[in-house]
């Protein structure tokens, strides 16, 4: 089973890395902050799978922190930093 967990975790890491193209491309600031969304869910899933795959329960806490931080990053971005539609 642990081969499956690590395999799917690798696959999820790949979808994250490919998704980063969208941050680089933009074009609007809104498109860039979608990365927080991507990490919040995909990163959490990858960490939970790793936790099971290498049987290390503390990794679930890392997943929990990741979930919280992604939400914070999105909120901070729209509240503070977003200047408008320009590049």
């Amino acid at each position: 089973m642990s081969g499956l967990y690590l395999g799917v975790a690798s696959f999820l890491l790949l979808t994250i890395v490919v998704g980063l193209i969208r941050i680089v491309r933009g074009p609007t600031p809104a498109d860039r902050i979608l990365a927080a969304q991507l990490f919040g869910t995909t990163g959490v899933a990858a960490l939970l799978l790793l936790a099971q795959g290498v049987s290390s329960p503390p990794l679930r806490d890392v997943a929990l922190v990741l979930a919280l931080l992604a939400a914070f990053a999105a909120a901070a971005f729209v509240r503070r930093a977003w200047t408008g539609g320009e590049e």
Partner: protein
């Protein structure tokens, strides 16, 4: 297909993505984009600490490296923008 094999794939992906991302953070002109890439780098770095069997460091990296630093950077950018706008208003007035 053993777990070890997939572990290798995961590590190689990380090892390729991290330097590319670090390079992009450094060369990106648009500061907002650079901050978001920096946060992304921090999160991937947290995954790297996980693979190095240091979940406590991973936790600190995610919370401090990506989270708090990222939010502070975003706030600083917002502050810079406000000041720049304030300056323009002063010149006009």
């Amino acid at each position: 297909m053993s777990a070890e094999w997939f572990g290798w794939i995961f590590d190689i992906l990380l090892a390729l993505a991290l330097p590319v991302l670090a390079w992009r953070v450094l060369i990106t002109r648009n500061l907002y984009q650079a901050v978001i890439l920096f946060v992304a780098f921090g999160l991937l770095m947290a995954l790297a600490w996980v693979r190095l069997e240091a979940p406590d460091v991973a936790l600190a990296e995610a919370a401090i490296g990506a989270g708090i630093t990222g939010v502070l950077f975003l706030d600083a950018l917002g502050y810079l923008r406000d000041r720049r706008r304030g300056g323009e208003a002063d010149e006009r007035g």
